[in-house]
Amino acid sequence: MLEVTGLSVSYGAVRALQGVSLSLGDHGVTTVLGANGAGKTTLLRTISGLLRPDAGSVRCDGADLTTVSVEDIARLGIIQVPEGGGVIKEMTVEDNLRLGHLWRRDAADMRRALAEVNEIFPALHPRRYQLALSLSGGERQMLAIGRALMARPRWLLLDEPSLGLAPRLVTEIMKLVRRLSTERNLAVLLVEQNARIALSIADDAVLLSSGQVVSSGPASSMTEDESVWHAYLGY
């Protein structure tokens, strides 16, 4: 159980998040929607420990994460795929993937994980010795998600995976995310601007505006009443 309670985060004098609460179970997809600057990335960065809140807390299975280091939060199984993927361009595809699993120091499990990821993303295996620099945007996003999966996450935080990708690719990735969350012991927190597609795969939805939660509940109700997110997302 990953719980965010009353989270308030500032950048200097600017309040980016105000009293945000949400919770993730062990399965399913929760999507966080909002326009640019609504605070979605700030939320993810705070959960991952890159930012510390002024007030409120993030709890993982009851334990407070506010003083836990970024690396240790990741080792608890909270894995973020940052905006753009965060693929390390100077390293090969395989090195990027292995990086996700390295800290466990379990060579056998690493091989198993690599095999699993290669099955999910068959396009990666033939390119495993190529520098990540040479991949297209879509391939990089797949590499980033594959790398995150190597880390055997319990909670997968995705920051706008659709950004800059062709619509067909976006659909593919979203369907994959949905599949992963149901097939594995995995809960997904999907931050998106593309509300339509996000709501199509989500179980629950949270709408952020100017750092505050303006609406939350089952995704289906937000899909039915489009006016809510039209107003905040501008389309």
Partner: protein
Amino acid sequence: MHQFLVLTTQGITSGMVYAALALALVLIWRSTRIVNFAQGAMAMFTTYIALWVIQTSGSYWLGFVVALASGLVAGAVVERLIIRRIASGPPLNPVIASLGILLFLEAVVPMIFGGQIRGFPPALSFFGFKVAGVDMPFSPFDLFTFAGVLATMALLYALFRFTGLGLQLRAAAFAPEVARLLGVRVGRMLTIGWALASMVGALAGVLVAPVTLLAPNSFDSVLVFAFTAAVLGGLDSPLGALIGGLSLGLALSYIGGYMSSDLETVGALLILIVLLMVRPQGFFAGTSHRRV
């Protein structure tokens, strides 16, 4: 002709030393984006420790090993206690801190060991080989220096390229934030990076001390040469450090041999200035950008 050969081998030998110290600078630059101006002074410090061990124990190789080990420790200590806390502030501050470490070491070492110039034993004989009665232009010491630095570079390459630790070190250097998000202990990796760099610096120290002799500031010009070599090769490129070091070593050897030895430092200075004006990124800089 013989003089040319001798100058060439001397140039290669000293070039390998500059390459080693330049590699230390490159390793630290790649991982923390800092030029460690204290690297020469740190190498001086570890070399003094080695000399003390050699003199008290009578064993050169024990001193050699202790030098490398104290290099590891020194690098780790400096990173952990000082650099860690300053690296996130204004970029000028780590430069000043490294200068402070330089000053401190160059002052404290004579207080502990005395300020007089000392000799330092070479690992193997300085005297040239004789093969079938013919004088070779190089000595066992030259071979040892060449092989030693090359072997160290090869080992480090293997470490970075083929091991899990190396992968984490590279990730911590190229993309520290992403690495942390995947559970890599980036801080620890930076400490290890500095420790390894400093160990390479210590190796350079014991290899160059027999030639330059050992005094608190005898490695100042070596640092300038190493920095020039690193810039020549591109501060981001370990291979560049090797080639830059060798090129510089040869160039300075010819200048010193055919013109005047006082002009060596000036020669390096001119090379550095011309280089920085013409191609500041060096000749082998790769495409690596610093990202988070």
